[in-house]
């Protein structure tokens, strides 16, 4: 360890660093455990959101199939021409143990039959019900995206925290402790040398005087 000065002030700095690292290690360990505990709930939520999405998509496709069969593809395609804009939603963020995760709010995909652009007179409830099912799909897509990206962010954070805990546990703290040990040893040695030197001087002085 050539770069470390074996001085008392360096020792004090190192002691502070070790204390800080150990505190950080304990906090990060708690954070990691907390995130892992939360993760199980999030996995369940994401799985449920995914399943709901798949189910609703299947239902919507079935409705679409029936509508196309009964109304004709040309009629359905004609109604689809009226699609009004891109669905809008509000994207916010929330904090889970220091991790910023997305929160999709104000899901306003559902429209009344008079707000969909087409006239009631020129369409049937088959179109309404199919549109309604696809509006539900959009809502579930947003929920699944929210759950999945939360899960990804938390998983990423667990990985980062795990690496930090491991680095502190097996590299930084042991390194700092070995540096402290080195300085302790060097200081002790210097003290011994000093004592020995003083003893030698004392012996020389006593020999001269005698």
């Amino acid at each position: 360890m050539p770069q470390i000065k074996p001085t008392r002030s360096e020792l004090i700095k190192l002691q502070r660093k070790i204390k800080l690292s150990k505190t950080g290690y304990n906090i990060l360990k708690k954070k990691r455990d907390g995130l892992v505990m939360n993760l199980f709930g999030m996995v369940k939520d994401a799985k449920e959101a995914q399943e709901t999405l798949e189910e609703s998509y299947e239902v919507a496709n079935r409705y679409l199939g029936m509508t196309i069969a009964f109304e004709g593809e040309i009629n359905v395609a004609s109604c689809a021409l009226i699609k009004k804009g891109t669905p809008q939603f509000q994207l916010e963020s929330k904090n889970i143990m220091g991790v910023q995760v997305p929160k999709i709010s104000e899901l306003s995909f559902k429209k009344g039959i008079n707000d969909r652009g087409y006239s009631i007179l020129s369409t049937s409830s088959k179109i309404d019900e199919t549109v309604e099912e696809y509006e539900k799909v959009l809502e579930y897509v947003a929920k699944a995206v929210e759950a999945e990206s939360t899960l990804k962010k938390v998983l990423n954070e667990i990985e980062v925290t795990k690496r930090r805990v491991n680095a502190l546990e097996s590299k930084i703290i042991p390194k700092l402790e070995s540096q402290k040990k080195f300085i302790d040893f060097r200081l002790e040695e210097l003290e011994r040398e000093n004592k020995f030197r003083l003893k030698m001087i004392k012996d020389k002085k006593s020999k001269k005087s005698s």
């Binding site: 029936m66 395609a77 004609s78 021409l81 006239s119 007179l121 020129s122 088959k126």
Partner: protein
């Protein structure tokens, strides 16, 4: 795709009922019987296309097979065949059929105009709009195609306003209002045209159709809620059993009272049968089936009238719809029972 449909009043000759009746009877004999539908129900989509390509739809299947495949080929072919058949029939029927031609063919004009306007309103591409057009109608199909090439929604309406039957349109109104007005004006004009024949079977059919449209719409409004200003827009005047006042009060009736009153009409039993269902899907299907069956039964009349032609028109429409339901139902993996129940046989 252009079938060169031109306004019927210009090219129709004199009506010869005995000739017409013989031709129509021959054409009726080519329509599918119930056993053919049962056979189609057990076929795959490709087999249905092959079956149609070997029979009455050969010409259309062959001409469209380069452009479309599978179920799309079937749907476009049957539509093209329907257009060709109607054209042939109206030409054969002569001058006395012109007002019927107007009544029947204008429906497709309205469909095509609405599709163009919807596409223009949402700035869809010309290709997207063209895929939703059906080459049948009182207006020349080339006119409809030229509308697709016009730049904007307002410009299309301005162009349409130059045609007498669409001069009521207003380009400042939204698409939903224009759609409602087109439909309402269509029924209004037909009822005016046939004013003197108020008890004719054709008018009875049209008025039953208006009743069914209104019932379907009040059921939708009851389910999804409605704004008072929207109520009138969604109802058509001239129903056989239910006028606008009746419909308006029915819309506000509590469940029990609604059922009690609707039971007094011929549609009561159908509504009651589907009342508990979560969806209006099957109720609408049953009402449409009822309408088609009524028409099929009613239009058997005197051979020296237009009735055999109307009977054939309805029967051909039923055939085309049945083929579409079977092929689309098969392509969407619907249960055979659902498809079978929806067929008008």
């Amino acid at each position: 795709m252009d079938l060169n449909v031109v306004s019927s009043e210009y090219w129709l000759g004199e009506t010869n009922y005995s000739y017409l009746n013989t031709r129509v009877r021959a054409m009726e004999s080519n329509l599918f019987r119930s056993d053919v539908y049962m056979k189609l129900l057990n076929m795959e989509v490709s087999q249905i296309a092959r079956f149609l390509g070997e029979g009455n739809y050969k010409e259309e299947i062959e001409s469209l097979s380069r452009e479309y495949r599978g179920v799309e080929l079937i749907e476009h072919s049957i539509n093209k065949n329907l257009g060709k058949t109607y054209n042939k029939l109206i030409k054969m029927s002569g001058k006395k059929a012109s007002k019927y031609a107007f009544a029947i063919l204008t429906r497709w004009d309205i469909h095509n105009i609405i599709s163009v306007l919807r596409g223009k309103y949402s700035k869809a591409t010309a290709e997207e709009i063209e895929r939703t057009l059906i080459p049948i109608g009182e207006l020349p199909f080339s006119l409809i195609q030229s509308l697709v090439k016009i730049y904007g929604y307002e410009d299309v309406i301005k162009r349409l306003k130059k045609i007498e039957q669409f001069d009521f349109l207003d380009e400042t109104k939204g698409i939903a209002d224009i759609e409602s007005e087109l439909f309402k004006m269509y029924y209004k004009k037909i009822l005016e045209t046939f004013k003197k024949e108020n008890k004719s079977l054709f008018i009875q059919f049209l008025r039953t159709e208006i009743d069914i449209i209104n019932i379907k719409n009040i059921m939708r409004m009851r389910r999804y809620g409605f704004a008072i200003e929207e109520e009138e827009k969604n109802m058509v005047e001239g129903g056989l059993f239910l006028n606008i006042e009746n419909l308006s009060s029915l819309l506000r009736e509590p469940e029990k009272e609604f059922l009690k009153r609707i039971k007094k009409t011929p549609y009561g039993s159908i509504i009651e049968k589907h009342w508990q269902e979560k969806t209006l899907f099957y109720l609408e299907e049953s009402l449409e089936k009822y309408l088609m069956e009524c028409a099929k039964e009613q239009f058997i009349g005197d051979p020296f009238t237009i009735m055999p032609v109307l009977h054939y028109i309805i029967s051909k429409k039923i055939e085309v719809e049945n083929i579409r339901k079977i092929s689309r139902g098969k392509a969407s993996n619907l249960e055979i029972k659902i498809i079978e129940d929806s067929l008008v046989i």
